[in-house]
Each structure stands twice: as structure tokens, then as C-alpha cells.
Symmetry: D2
Subunit: 307 residues, 4 copies
């Protein structure tokens, strides 16, 4: 996301490199700014004049902070358009309203690195959607501190990087992850039951670009062994939470959550088993929505323009 | 809703009468038309030029029929506006795009008549929301073929009309309902467990203006005694469905549905009891969304722009 | 519940006084003890020999503590039985297995005192079920630190006690509540959105006999204004939790929980409104199950033999 | 299941062959019969005398038909027991009460054949649970009218049988399925999105031994393309139903159901995608419960003693 106040941001240029093709029939614009009259009209006009039709549009005003959020999908009625030119034409409006904004080629599939440890259900769910073409991402690498998921990745023909980690090698291992991320021009990282806590540095480097699945209904049961915590507390529903990674453990902005009913008769092992399906579904939705640019950050929260 | 093709519709004028005050700070516009480029820009421009800020906006394009639906809430930044003038100013756009459209004062609470038989839980839920001011409707009358809900209505200080019905008096009784509807300048009718089937004529007269709660998860278990049908079929979830009334029984456009888990051990009487809460919640949502002009008809289906 | 080790418990006698009629066609037995072979056979035999048929039976063994829990509903095939005699005949088995046990007349409706503050939705739900006869309780009194619910209680013809409270009068006010509880031979207390924290003494006095509804999905958002906490955290589901009251705030054994989906667009006020229905439904279930002796305490957790 | 009236059933002997080992520490008994006093005591006594402890027990009386259903898990406190001897010892009680009954080695994992067409998500979910050892079944063969799932089965090292079918070869193809079922001593068949309608003969042959997943919330949307039917009807929730196969299409006894929320904006293709997860979870539960002998047939319905 690029902050445009007075100068053209360098971040926009960086993102251009990533998003592949230079022309497209369909773009996604998302932005946030202080609420003020005329924003929608200005945006709609600009694109109407350039021959775009609005396919989807969602907006939200935070009534407490008066911050305005918008996502719109625009289809060219006049053949392919240069994304660079569309961006340039949008720049004046972005400056006028002080927008934090991004514009994407809607045909481009974000490039994703997945981190996993020994449990493969979330990974497999993502690989399956990727392979069938229903999840709009391009899985460019899987990294793991264990070797156990290697055969699965080979089966799906996705590069697998075994990166063992100890206390002493943590910073090197994280550097290796970041290198794989950069070398692959990756757009975001998914922690699909990756059982290592990321360092503050890595959290910062991937701010807004790393999604984690936590196996509890946050804010309940942060940290380790949440199903056992849930068992001990005797809750009647267990859940899973997909959230952006921040340096505060399990405190990042929540993207999606779901729960399932359990009873006193379920052992911790059964909670783990029941939870698997919730985790995979919740993470899948979060990844999908992030990949479709439906998730906007609103400080410690998210705005999710799901369908 | 008014169809504007070549001539100014008389229906718009009729609705002006109903919607009370002639000036307002906030209007709700909803419309549908064939999809074509520039609609949103034209609408946004018109209102920006008149000093309106867009508070909420939702849109949807049916990819199969290419019909476009939009609802937008507009706040005047320049003091109160005459609704009549806003409508007049919108008329040319509506004509240009062949819109079916309506425009409402957002401060106006729709006037509602509720029909009920002997079960009061849905009625009570609506009366309670109305009394507390959280449900944006004005309940102007309750009609019933039984007297049992009279004390409840008196308690809530809502006029109650006891209109018994037999086979022979059905047409007169329905005429009485329609008269109460008209005399009260009502905007819509809610069948809150009204256990009579409306005649085709009444369904026609109130087309798009009558909401029913059916105590099953449609299309399963249409008609009488759906909980007993559900018991006999051995389903593991029961549900409720709020829909617009049409002349085909339980076939009208669905507004909202919900379900609750049951087991083999639940008797039909327990299903009835469990279902009560679902019915009340589902009907409450449907009434709220309709009252806020969030529901648009898409032939036999609805578009629901819920929050 | 009575602990029977070597001597006949006086608590059993106390409970006899409460549970009204001295003979019945149907009894409910619930007990817990260390797991050991032959318990079910011993219990089933005893009642078979006395001409009882087992209508319902549920059991659970905690695999970690090896504690065994059972609830069974027994119907006499030989006309009415003296509860006192049934208890006496069960005493030797209870002693042999070291059971903590209770035996109830299944036709007896527990006597309930409800505490409420200014929000009536949970109270109304309970009063409605009581009035219609579908909730198997006898509401003998409503106590409140506010007067606002008095008309509602009058409407339902239930005695209302206005017991205002200040910091200085808290102990007297709680004494008044306990007196009303005792004078009415009440079996349990329901805190139906009673916005006062009970003193440790009152919690002790009503241990296992006081049910609270907390308006969050515990353990998330304990204490005050949970919906505002939920809004600030940006959760995607909100919930409600019914639990036994203990001296640790919102930490008592959980009886039932449920959640509802919300979005970034919902204001705290809307969360409060959406939450109302969940709270009422969850509390209703907890009260029903407690009244039917379906809830057994397992240290800090519950065993719930729901249908 | 064996019907024991006057003569010892041959079916019991057949089942002995199937269930492998001749001695065990834990057995599962399930039965149904007319309700009458003393059943539980008789059963509990018999097993107590033989040194069994009751680990789990569930019962249900159908209040309309007065049929009684019970499932109990019995653990030997005296070392391994001969299943044959346990059965023989139970036979007199079964005869006395006219029970339809079965008794299983609880350590035995039922042998399962899975039929699939071109969609692998339900198959993969079952294979995954089987491989990890959390789903208590032994998948002995996969049959399919298409070849597409062969690599997946090879990956999981499960025998795959490609059995193409045309109108003319349907009876032979079904005979081949039955042969594979028999040759593998299979206990039940799972139709994991097998898109062929079984002949009446095959339905009869596998009565109570074939579980299907239908991709709608039955009884709504029977037959072909239920998600498209759901789209056309404009429902607000879609679902999946696991049921026993009978000769009446999609009318068999329902084992489990679940739903997920959708909106007007979801295309039929998105409904298909959302539905995948529900289907897999619902079928997994049904297979698990059937494999654990938790499902008892009650004419056209099921009794499910889930945890």
C-alpha cells in the first residue's frame, strides 16, 4: 500500500515490478483516507472518463475515526489498459484526498510463500485450491522447519525449502525465509500452522504481508496449546482465527474467525481433530480475501469487503 | 418502487405522501437497471454537485442477467434538502438508464401493520424493538384472526384489530386488513406467524410489501406443520425463512434464513420451541433490512445489502 | 447436591423440604463418583427391583480424573412412589461408591429468583417460557437494583422487589436478596443481565445455585462493556456465555455458549443489539438444563447432558 | 445387525468372520427393541457379572413408537475376552427382549470401500484421516467411474479400481463394485461424490451399509446440480447431507447435516466451492459415527449417539 501525500511514492513503483503484465482489462483499486464529500464522485468520474465500468464496489466509513475505506473493481470497456497509465491518472485524486492507496491488475495472481511445520492440513487445503485454480494465488515456495511436508509439496510440484531452526540459528533461518520471499518476488507470506514465533524484525519486514492462523477463537487462548487451554476452561465452542502477523503475539488485526460446537465429552485430542477443519477453512478465506485485495487495515482492525 | 421510462411515474408522488416530512438531511436511494458504463459516476456526480456526501453505498451486478442493483445513503452537507427536489433532479438520470428506482427520507420510519394469529413470539420481538427504538419501524396496527394477542398490544399501546375469519368471510376480512393498511398509510405488512393463507388478490395488492416468516428452512417443508414434517424426515437442523409473500405459497423471494441444530431426541414440540427463537430473529432481520431499504427484488430472488 | 460417605447427609433432608410433593411417578437421579466397575449395574438393578423403568440415561467418564458422572430419569411402572423411600433405598449404593448425589421429583418445577438491572430481554424470555409452561421453572420473585422492570413483572404477575444498591448498602441489599431467596424456598438464582458484581459471601452462599449470563464469548472480554471490547479488538463473531457464578469474576464453570457473525461495519451499539438475542437464547438453555438437572459440576467445568 | 427372535441368527456368525480378532478388551454393543422395564438392568448386570466396566452408554426411547435404542462401550477388567463367548452370553437377553442387536470388537477398524467420480475433496478428507489414524476406518479400496483419482490413491497407497460405466454396462459395473466389496470383506461403502445413481438391487444389497453425501440441505434440492438449484431459488444458506443410501433417491435416513452462509453475490461456481468444505466435514462425521457404531436406524430416520 502506498502513502501519497506530496510526492509520488517509491512503493508504487516497487509494486509495479511485482504485478507482472503491464496492461490489463480489469483493475482493483483500494484506498483509505479521511472522509470528505465528493470522493466517490471523483473516483467514479475519473474511471468513467477513461472508459472503465465499475464491476464491484464497496465502501465503509468508520464513524469513530471518520476514516473512509473503498475497494472497487474496474473493467475496461475499451480493450486493455496500461496499469502504469491508470496509476498516473489516479495520482492527482490520491494526492487531493490524501489517500493511502494501491491499484492492482485483477488478472494477476499474488505470489505466495507458505510456512508450515509438521501439520499439513492448512497447507494441503491451500495447495488444493491453488492446483484446482479456484484460489487466486500462485504458491511459489513452501518453507518449513521440518522435512515432513516435502513429499506433499513434491506431489503438488511446489518448491519446498527445509529450513531447520534452533535458538542459535533463528536469525539466519529467518534471513533465509526472507531471501526466498524476495527471490520469488512474493507478495505475501502465509503461516499455515508454522509453530515458530517470528522475530520482531521479520514481523516488521512483512508488516501487512503475513497472515497467520491461530487455533483458537481470539482473544481467548493466545499462545501455545490453545486446544488444551480450551479443554481446561471447559468452553462449549472452539474456534480458529486468521490474522495479520504483528510483533505482539496473536494480537494482530483479525481477518476471519469461525467456531464449532464441542462438548464435555471431547478430549483435547478430539478438539485438535475438530479444529483442523475450522483452521483450514478460516485460513483459506483469509488468504482468498487478501489475494483479492478485499482486506484493508484500519489500525488494529480490518475492513473486510467479502462478498 | 417506481418504474421510470418515458413518463414521470405517479407512484413516486404517492410515495411522497407517505414518507412524511418534505425535507431531510439524509436520503436513501435504491435502484436497478441494465448494467452499462457510467452509472455510478453519473449518480455520484449528481449528488456531489448537490452537496451530498455518500455515507454508505452497495452495488451488485447479476452476472447472468446483467442487471445492476445499487443502494446508497446520502447525507446533505448543506442543511436540509427538499426530497421532492432531490427526486426531480434525479429523474433525468433515472430516465437515461431506464432505472426502476425509489428515494426515501432516511429519517422516516416505515409504517408497519403486523398480522398475527395465536403465537406471539415474533410479534413480541418486533414490538420490543419498536418500543426500544432500535428497530426503525413505526408499528401502526396489529391485526389478528384471534383475540389472544390483544393484551400484549395494549401493553405496548399499539392498536389491535380482531378480525375473525371463516371460509365464507375471507374476502371481507382481507378487505378489512387492506383498509387498515390504507387508513394507516402503512408501508408494509408483516405476517408474524399469521396462520392464514392470503388470497391471490391480497398477495397482488401487497406485492413486494408483505413479509412472511415461514417456520422451516425453505424450500424444505412448505405448507402446514413444517416442524412435524422436519421431525418425520429426521433432519439434523431446523430453520426459519423470511420471504416476500407471493401467490405461490412459500415460494416468494427469500430475504433471510437461519438454522439451529437438533437431534433425534427432540420431540416435535421441542422443535417448535427451539424454532421460536430462530423465527423471531430471522423475521426481525428481514423487517429491519426491508425498513432500511436494503432489500431489492431480483425477479424471484432478493439482493440484500446487509451490513 | 449431597455428599454421602459414612453418614446420612442433612442436605438431602433439606432438599426434601424444597421439592414439594412427597410422592411421584418419575424421579431424576444424578451423581458423580470415582469410576469403578459395576456402578451402572448396581443402579439399574436397584431401580428395576423397585419397578422403575429408565426413560433417559446419560453418563460420562472423565478420562483424565477417572471421575464418573451419571444422570438418569426413572419412571415408576407401579404407581406413585415416595421420594423419601426411594432416597433411603438408594443410600447404601451411594455410600458404597462414595457418590455425590441428588434425587429429584421430575414433576417438580424448581423455584427460581431472577435478578435483573435495566435490560429486560433475558428476563422477558424467561418469563415468557415460564408463562407458556415450556420452561420447567417456577419464577417466584424478581429482584432488581432498578425499578424499570416492575411493570413487566406485574404484567406477568410475578412479585417484583426493588432493591436499590450503593457501595454502602451492598451487604444489606445482598442480605435482602438472600432473604427473598430463602423465604421463597428458591432452588436457584438467575442473573439475567444483573449488572452488579456479587460479593464473595453471596457467591459462596449460592455456590452451584446461581447462573449468570455474560455478554461475551468467554474467556474473551471478561468484565465490563464486553461488546465495546469486542468492537475494539475487531472480532468477526460475538458471543454470550452462561456460567455458574463463582467469586472469580466471569471464571465460573461454563454451561452454554453461542456466537453470531458481525462485521467491521457494525457499531458497538449494533453489537449490543445483535448480542441481545444470543444472550437470551443461551441463558434460556442454561436455565432449562439446570432445571432439568442436566448439568453436573466437574471441578471448574461442567458436564451437560443435553438432548 | 442381527434379528434374534427364536433362532440364532446366521448374520451374527457372518459378522464374526468380518470383525477379525477373536478376543478383545473392549466391545461395543448396540441394539433396539420395544421399550419395556428392566432392559438396562439386565444388560448392565450381565456385563458386570462378566467383569466388564461400562465406558460409554447412550440410550433413547422414541416416545411415538416406544422403540428403545441403546449403545454401550464395555471394557473388560479381567483381560481379553472372546467375542464369540460374549455374544453367546448375550443371546438369551437379546431373545427375551426381542432385540435387533450387534456386538463389535471396539479395536476393530471397519473396512471401507469408497466410490468417487471426478471430485476428490471428500475422498481426500477420508484418506487423510485414515492415514493419520484419527478416522477409525480401514480404507481397503477406492472405485471410480473415472481414472482421475488414481494418482491420489496411489499417493495414499490405497488400491484404486477404475470401473467405467455406460447405460449398457451398469449392471456389470455394479457387480464389479459388489465383488470388490465382498473380496475385501468390506463393512460399508461410502459414496464420496460418486455421481452415479445406484440401481435398486445394489441399494438393497448394501442396505444400511452405504453412506452418501448429497450436496444440499435435504429435503431441499434433491437430484442433480443442487447448488445451481440453490442459486436459482436464492437461498441464504447452502448445506450438505450425509445419509444412508436407499432406492429412493436422496430420501434415505439422514445421519448428519451442516450449512454455510452465502449471499446474493455468490455465483453457482462459488456455491460449489463453499460447499466443498461442508460436504467433506459432514461426510467425515457420518463415516466416523457409523464406524464407531453410533448410528442406529429408526425406520426412515437415524438415532445418532454422537459425543
Amino acid at each position: 500500500m502506498s502513502k501519497t501525500q506530496n510526492t509520488e511514492s517509491t512503493k508504487v513503483e516497487l509494486e509495479n515490478k511485482d504485478t507482472g503484465s503491464s496492461s490489463t482489462h480489469e483493475v482493483v483499486l483500494k484506498f483509505s483516507c479521511s472522509d470528505q464529500p465528493g470522493i466517490v464522485a471523483a473516483v467514479a468520474n475519473l474511471f468513467a472518463l477513461q472508459g472503465f465500468n465499475i464491476r464491484e464496489s464497496s465502501q465503509f466509513e468508520d464513524v469513530h475515526t471518520h476514516k473512509f475505506f473503498m475497494r472497487t473493481v474496474l473493467e475496461s470497456c475499451e480493450g486493455p489498459k496500461s496499469i502504469e497509465q491508470v496509476k498516473t491518472s489516479f495520482e492527482p485524486i490520491a494526492q487531493r484526498y490524501g489517500m493511502e492507496w494501491s491499484l492492482y491488475d485483477n488478472q494477476y495472481k499474488p505470489r505466495v510463500v507458505i510456512a508450515v511445520s509438521q501439520w499439513g492440513h492448512c497447507l494441503e487445503n491451500l495447495l488444493d485450491g491453488y492446483k484446482r485454480g479456484t484460489l487466486p494465488i500462485d504458491i511459489v515456495a513452501v518453507v518449513s522447519n521440518h522435512a515432513v511436508m516435502q513429499p506433499l509439496c513434491e506431489w503438488y510440484q511446489v518448491p519446498f525449502h527445509h529450513l531447520p531452526v534452533t535458538k542459535d540459528t533463528k536469525s539466519e533461518q529467518e534471513a533465509a525465509i526472507l531471501n526466498i520471499f524476495s527471490d520469488n518476488n512474493a507478495d505475501f507470506l502465509v503461516l499455515a500452522r508454522y509453530m515458530q514465533i517470528l522475530s520482531n524484525d521479520l514481523c516488521e519486514a512483512l508488516s501487512g504481508k503475513a497472515i497467520n492462523i491461530h487455533h483458537s477463537f481470539l482473544p481467548g487462548f493466545k499462545g501455545a496449546k490453545p486446544y488444551h487451554q480450551a479443554y481446561d476452561r471447559g468452553v462449549k465452542l472452539i474456534g480458529a482465527t486468521a490474522h495479520y502477523v504483528t510483533s505482539e503475539l496473536d494480537e494482530g488485526p483479525i481477518i476471519e474467525q469461525a467456531v464449532e460446537r464441542v462438548s464435555h465429552a471431547n478430549t483435547p485430542e478430539e478438539l485438535v481433530e475438530i479444529g483442523r477443519d475450522i483452521e483450514a477453512v478460516v485460513l483459506n478465506r483469509a488468504v482468498r480475501w487478501h489475494a483479492q485485495h478485499r482486506v484493508l487495515l484500519n489500525e488494529t482492525k480490518t475492513v473486510v469487503f467479502s462478498r
